[in-house]
């Protein structure tokens, strides 16, 4: 046995003491790591939502508000369908200040073979679309063909599988990257495929409330405006009639989300600080109490020839090792909670949630571990100082 090996031996030979300190440190790591991952996931989700929305304005029929909140489709993946004449698209496109405008058609499937719950089908026009094509382009080089769909990351269907929507077989040509928004629960197809699906839905007596040709409708118009024109155009579009429309300014959606995210992040930050303060106080108290119990042991080591510095090193190395083990356990527990239950966390928060990639996750693990490995010995400093500076002569005279 050498002085260098003694800290590890002390840890292993006192499992009760080690376990209780490890649990305290694990809580530190768990709170810091989990809180950081959740906040980063929310921030990634917001960025992803901004990228995926892609437009400055979204125009939907005014009646859709009563049926379903369109914002929920983007944030939570709630299914919905509502229609207006495609002539509205031409009207908007012709307005001054519009850079691009493209229509999308929504259809909520009753029960797709792929899913246990209704999914949103979104049809887009490849010729004019500027929001969905770039996303699909990350996964497939060519455009979607007829009766082909691109599935969101949370749709339970693999590439080259066939799913049935209103009885129509649709080939899954691509699976899209996760966006952390409600858009992950939708499947995407061209307008040509959507017209087939709308006809099939109508044949199956699904009440679509479409007058006339299903190919002549849109559910939403995505509008990109010249810089600074969004507010004016939104007002102008709102004033148009037949049909009456609602204009969603995506900046409003994202700033609402940003505001909620700010609130959640603030709450999480306060919780992390509270847990850390409480835990550090407990950890310091625990090290001090243990230090009291170990006075005699340290006095014996001093009498054998260990210096104050050696004893401080011994106490701090034990604390560092315990912090390392506790930190690893806390982070592992955090991963066990965060990885399988990210869907539940997203549902509970009601905000876009996109878990960071593995390089960022590993960096967060390392940073959390480094923080607790500094906090543990920090909490043990007072105890180490007291133990190393204790009057050994007096302790030895106590005899027991």
């Amino acid at each position: 046995m050498t002085p260098r090996k003694l800290p590890m031996r002390n840890i292993l030979r006192h499992p009760g003491r080690t376990a209780s300190l490890t649990v305290l440190v694990a809580f530190l790591a768990l709170s810091l790591f989990s809180g950081s991952v959740i906040v980063m996931s929310l921030m990634s989700g917001l960025r992803s939502l901004e990228n995926r929305l892609g437009a400055d304005l979204i125009v939907v029929p005014a009646t859709s508000r009563g049926k379903i909140d369109p914002e929920k489709i983007y944030l939570q993946g709630t299914t919905g369908y509502y229609y207006m004449s495609a002539s509205k698209l031409d009207e908007v496109r012709a307005m001054e200040g519009v850079v691009q405008a493209s229509g999308q058609v929504f259809l909520a499937s009753l029960r797709a073979d792929c899913c246990s719950m209704p999914i949103q089908v979104i049809g887009f026009d490849p010729a004019t679309d500027f929001t969905i094509r770039p996303w699909i382009g990350e996964r497939m080089k060519t455009d979607l063909g007829k009766m082909e769909v691109a599935a969101g990351s949370r749709v339970n269907a693999g590439v080259n599988e066939t799913i049935r929507i209103y009885g129509q077989p649709c080939l899954v040509a691509a699976r899209l990257d996760e966006s952390g928004t409600g858009l992950d629960t939708a499947v995407y197809c061209t307008m040509e495929t959507m017209a087939e699906l709308l006809s099939a839905a109508r044949e199956m007596n699904h009440e679509l409330k479409i007058d006339g040709d299903p190919a002549g409708v849109v559910s939403a118009i995505y509008v990109k405006t010249h810089p600074g024109e969004a507010d004016r155009l939104a007002g102008e579009i709102r004033q148009t009639r037949s049909p009456k429309v609602t204009v969603i300014q995506t900046r409003t959606v994202t700033s609402d989300v940003e505001r909620s995210l700010g609130g959640v992040s603030h709450t999480i930050a306060v919780l992390i600080i509270c847990v850390w303060l409480l835990d550090l106080v407990l950890l310091t108290a625990a090290f001090l109490l243990l230090g009291g119990e170990r006075r005699r042991e340290f006095a014996v080591l001093r009498s054998l020839g260990m210096s104050r510095r050696d004893l401080a090193y011994l106490a701090l190395k034990e604390a560092a090792l315990i912090s390392f083990f506790g930190g690893m356990n806390g982070i592992f527990l955090g991963l066990l909670i965060l990885l399988p239950f990210s869907g539940l966390i997203e549902q509970a928060l009601g905000l876009p949630y996109l878990r960071p990639g593995w390089p960022t996750m590993l960096a967060l693990c390392a940073a959390s571990l480094a923080a607790v490995c500094a906090a543990g010995p920090g909490a043990a400093l007072l105890s180490a100082r007291k133990l190393s500076r204790a009057d050994i002569g007096t302790i030895m005279r106590e005899g027991t």
């Binding site: 292993l12 009057d391 030895m396």
Partner: protein, 223 residues
């Protein structure tokens, strides 16, 4: 080698009614020489252990010096004094003194590793054999009786062949047979060249002493 105490005294802060301190050890002049066994007796609370711990470099005195070959122990830095203790001194303290996370043999060999010496395995085994604890070499201290722990700390102090041995009640937990054996081993250690300082209540110890001392109310008397 010699360890010389000059005017070595210790006062403790304590409200005793008539004073704010207790004069635990009045100024002491004493020299320990290699090859000599000193035995210090006296009543409980007379200051024996305080004197021993000051001589062993464990308790800074209130006054005076304790010098090893002319170098005052308490003028050294903590690291310097610790190094000196590890290389030259060995202490057999009162009561429990085992490091509980080491086995008996690891406890015994640990001081040598602190002093940067080779582990004195053979010497340790010989002493353990003589004191009847060889079979306990791989046992944890928590499994030992008081007498076995005491014998372990005696072997730990003597195995590496220290220049100075400070033994505080080394026979306290031992039966008559082991008491005689221990005192005999301490005497042999002195004859082999170490300076041995024994604090004891044991009357038998006087027979082994080259110098016999008595302490009374903090004052040291040579008998």
């Amino acid at each position: 080698m010699e360890l010389a105490a000059c005017g070595l005294a210790k006062r403790f802060r304590r409200n005793t009614g008539d004073a704010n301190f207790l004069e635990a050890v009045h100024p002491v002049d004493l020299t320990m020489h290699s090859g000599e066994m000193m035995v210090l007796t006296g009543r409980s609370g007379s200051g024996k252990t305080t004197l021993l711990t000051m001589l062993a470099g464990l308790l800074p005195p209130s006054d005076g010096t304790a010098a090893l070959d002319g170098k005052d122990l308490y003028s050294l830095s903590d690291a310097g004094l610790s190094r000196m203790r590890a290389r030259h001194f060995a202490v057999i303290p009162q009561g429990a003194s085992a490091v509980t996370s080491m086995t008996v043999m690891e406890n015994i060999l640990f001081p040598a590793s602190l002093a940067g010496k080779d582990p004195p395995v053979r010497q340790a085994e010989t002493l353990m054999e003589r004191l009847g604890i060889l079979k306990l070499r791989n046992v944890w201290p928590g499994e030992l009786s008081g007498g076995e722990l005491r014998r372990m700390s005696i072997v730990r102090a003597l195995a590496a062949g220290p220049d100075f041995v400070f033994a505080d009640e080394p026979t306290a937990d031992l039966d008559d047979g082991n008491t005689a054996l221990t005192l005999g081993i301490l005497k042999e250690t002195a004859l082999e060249g170490s300076a041995v300082f024994v604090v004891t209540h044991d009357r038998e110890a006087a027979a082994y002493a080259d110098v016999l001392l008595r302490m009374d109310a903090g004052k040291l008397y040579k008998i």
